[in-house]
Structure formats: structure tokens, C-alpha cells
Amino acid sequence: MSLNYDSALEIYEPTLGLEVHVELNTNSKMFCGCATEFGAQPNTQTCPVCLGLPGSLPVVNKRAIESTILIGLALNCSIAPFSRFARKNYFYPDMPKNFQTSQYDEPICVNGSLDVEIETDEGNKVFKVEIERVHMEEDTGKSLHVGGSTGRIHGADYSLLDYNRAGIPLVEIVTKIVPNTGKYAPLVARGYVAALRDILRSLKVSDVKMEQGSLRCDVNLSLSKRGSGVLGTRSETKNVNSLRSVERAVTGEIVRQANRLQSGEKVVQETRHFLEESGQTRPGRSKEQAEDYRYFPEPDLVPVAPDGKWIEELRKSLPEKPAERRKRLQQAWAVPDKEMRAMVNAELLDTVEQTVLLGADPTRARSWWLGEISRIANERSVLPTDLITVSDVAQIIELITKGELTDKLARQVVEGVIAKEGTPSQVIAKRSLKVVSDDSQLMKAIAEAIAAAPETAQKVRDGNIPAAGALIGAVMKLTGGQADAARVRQLLLKHLGQ
């Protein structure tokens, strides 16, 4: 009988380890001045250094070092007073130099931690994930496998290499083993990557776009029999490229390993690939017989030895921690937990904050971004901010607050701006979307509505206030939604002696 997730966890305790690779958003590469533009034509961003041509010499990008130190500081790491680069030697065409310049036994940041808060049935729980190291290295080129049926490396006839990405600064963040997460292992893994991504975004050191590969996660997982205290053999699932996939990869590996162990087989220490469609993993390429990278200190680069002054300057520039910022904004805007989570999950916190900073009411800013604009964005599979700018939204909200637009009219303005009809004021002018604020015009509509429904009007005269709703609706219709409903109500009730 095969084990499902719950029964697997009754017998086995998972242990996690997470390796995250982050492409830094520097303008130039790690060791040369080539540009780092995403999506450029193949091999247009290469030079003798990143192609590994003989005689070329690397020089470290200062901003890459500073970004890495910032990451270390934000993760509560110690910054090493002395660190070095090493050559990791391997033959694989994704690195034209035949080695990757990386940090090995002397990384720049060590021993940090990150608190990961997850929502569970038993309330919110915080897991402290300890960080082993943060080190600098460089990204590899992109391979295109040609031939075979799958576009995969297996069965390919030959491969084509684009070295634009080779040499882009990459930071690797490695956790210590994360024990005792139990059934929450998938959520902790996901929560860790999400919290890390928030921090990296707040530091402005990376685009952190998982779908474009600027943030990639490798998930190490092993199981041990409950109570045995013996760590099991781990598998490493590579390049898991969304938060949801991180969670699914951990769940999938727990079930797969538990079933292997349960049927008396062994877990093989291997690299596995995550399959997006099924949530399963498959074995990856067989590595060179035992990894022997023959690391040695990179003779072409001198050590990085940040002094206390440099580190303190960087520490001073650290932004507010994302978790603290969230608490502060939630309080300032008086947002309930659930709405706050919705805003964070929709990744609209920054956008709402920017809108509020332009003077918009927080509640309105939140409800426009998460409501109407998100709805249209979802329909078109784009980001809300691709549709309309923060300043346009702030302007529209200001008009609502001033009573110059009703919600209904504002929706039309938003529609118009999204349809590229112009700025909010241009759309308002073109579509004549002004609130009818002229009382005499409203009174005309009210008289018309009453004439059309004299019985309803009588009910209101007799004290049945809720009956006025139908008349207000009729007036709104008559004015094409361009009246302020509150003002209509006021005028109508007064007119009917209420």
C-alpha cells in the first residue's frame, strides 16, 4: 500500500535545506563590463573575460560586493573580514572558461538567520531558519538542446550556447539544515523563499523574478524515521521556479521518499528536476563521477577584505525590514489581517503604498488595486501596474474623495485609461463623466422618477424609508450614473417630507 502525505508524516520526519540563487541587478557583469540586459539577442553581451579567452583578466564589480554584503547584513550574518574567490573546475559548455568563479571555503557572509512566519490551522507560527553562508559567484550561459523530441539534453543531437548570462553576478544563499518542521515543511520552505524574496526586493539588489530565473531555489530534503534521530539520505531538487512549486516540490519529495523507504528501497543521493505539470520530480543528469571540482583559489583575483567602516556604511543604508514595514503600514492604514494578507499575496503592497503617498485614501487605494484593476488584470493575464499607473489611480481616487466622481463613474474612467484613451482628466472630458452636482438637474430627475412610480413615492411619504431605494436607483439610471447617490437620497427624502 502506498503512503500519502499524511501517513508518510506519521512515520517520517522531514529535514529541509534550501539553496537560493539570486541574480543581482547590477548594470554590468560580475568580472567584466558587459551589460546584463534580460532577453537581449544571443551573444551580444560577451567579451574576452566572460568568454574565457586567453589572456583576459577579471575585475570584481564593486556594487556586486556591496549588494552581497547588504544581503548578508539583512539576514543577520557576520561579514567575513577576508574572503576569496575560487575556481570551481568542470567541463560543461555552459561556462566557456571551463570553471566557474565562485567562493568556496571563504564566503563573504556566514551564520545568519531569517524568521519565517507561516499561517497554519493552529494560528501563525514562526520558524527560525538559520543561514549557513551567503557567497558570490557568477551565472552560467543558456543552452538550447537541439534534436530529440523533448528539447531536453537527453537525446539531443547538439546544443547551442548563448553566453549573455555567463558572468552575471549570482549570490548563493544556503541554509543550515532546517529540522523539526514536520507537516509544515512545505509551508516553511515556501515561506522562507517568500520572506527572502521580500528582503531582496526591499534591498533593491535583484529583480527577484522567479519566472525569469533571477531567483531560483534548490530544495534539499531527507526523511528520518520518527524517533530514530538519524538523518536520512537527501535528494536535491533543482531550479524550482515559483513559490507554489517550492511547496509542491517538498510535498512531492516527502511522499516519494517515504514510499521508497517504506518498500525497503534506499533514497539515492542525487539531483532531481521538478516537473511543473505533475508536481513530481524526476532524476536529473548523471553528474561527473563523484563531484570533484578541484577548487583552488582564483589566482587572477585578489581577496575581498571589507573593513568595518565600509560594512557600517552599508548597514546604515539598510531599509526597514519587510515584516516590520508590513506591521507599520497595517497599523497606519487600519487594515484587517485578512485584507493585509490579500494585499501582500497579490504583491500590491508597494503599489498601494505609493498610491497612498500620492495622497489617496488607503482604503480606497486598496480596494481599487485589489478589486476592479486586479480583476481586469487577471482577465488579461497581466500585472495591475501594467494597465494603469499609480499616479492615475491616485488622481481618480482624489476625484472620488472630492465628490467629483462616483464609484460607478470612476470605473468608467479606469476603463478608459486602461483602453489608452488618455489621462483620467482626458477620459472624463471625452466621455463626459462628471458627477451631476447641480441640484436643480437632480430635482428634475427626482420628479421624473416619482412620476413614474407614484405608489413607491407614497410609501416613502408614509414613512417607509427603505422604499426610497428604488427611487434613488431610478434617479441614478436617469442621470446615467453621474449623480452622487448620497446627495440624491438627501434631496429625495426632503422632497417627500422625510
Partner: protein, 98 residues
């Protein structure tokens, strides 16, 4: 006792993708042993007050500003490649059939 065995030299050659005849291995194992022996003697001389070094110059923090400089054109980049296609370097099949 040799500092490096013939088998170790053969393994290094394999890792470095250098094909070597038996005669070359015999010859190189001997030569490398002499080199390693010399380095070992230097290590004996270095006392506790001499820190390990990876670089002959006592400098650190040599960096460049994050400024983009012109790259090669794709034609230049690919000019030395044995084969290219679709503006990319073309390399033989990476993995053998499993």
C-alpha cells in the same frame, strides 16, 4: 613514499580531459612528485606567524565600478568558435545515451 601516486595523476588527467599514454603518466607522476616535494619543504619552513597565501601581492579589494563597457559583436564573439548556428556557439552532444 611518493607525494602523488600514478593513479592520482591519471585521475587528474581524466578530470582535466587530457588523454595520456602510460609512458606519459609514468613520466609525469615522477615530475609532479618532485614539484610537490619542493612545495612541502617550503611549507615546513613557514612558521605559525606566516599566514597561508593565495596571491603574491599583498593587496585586496581591487574592484571596478558597475559601469557597462562595450561588448564584442556576436560575429566577433563567434569568430573563434569551431561551429556556430543561430548566433550561438554550437557544441557537440553533451550527454551520451544512457
Amino acid at each position: 613514499m611518493a607525494a602523488i601516486s600514478r593513479d592520482e595523476v591519471a585521475n587528474l588527467a581524466r578530470l582535466a580531459r587530457i588523454s595520456m599514454s602510460d609512458a606519459e603518466l609514468d613520466h609525469l607522476a615522477g615530475e609532479m612528485d618532485v614539484i610537490l616535494g619542493a612545495v612541502a619543504r617550503v611549507q615546513e619552513v613557514a612558521g605559525a606567524d606566516v599566514p597561508p597565501t593565495s596571491h603574491p601581492l599583498a593587496v585586496s579589494n581591487v574592484t571596478r565600478d558597475d559601469v557597462v563597457t562595450p561588448s564584442l559583436t556576436p560575429e566577433q564573439a563567434l569568430s573563434g568558435a569551431p561551429a556556430s548556428s543561430e548566433q550561438r556557439f554550437k557544441v557537440p552532444k553533451i550527454l551520451g545515451e544512457e
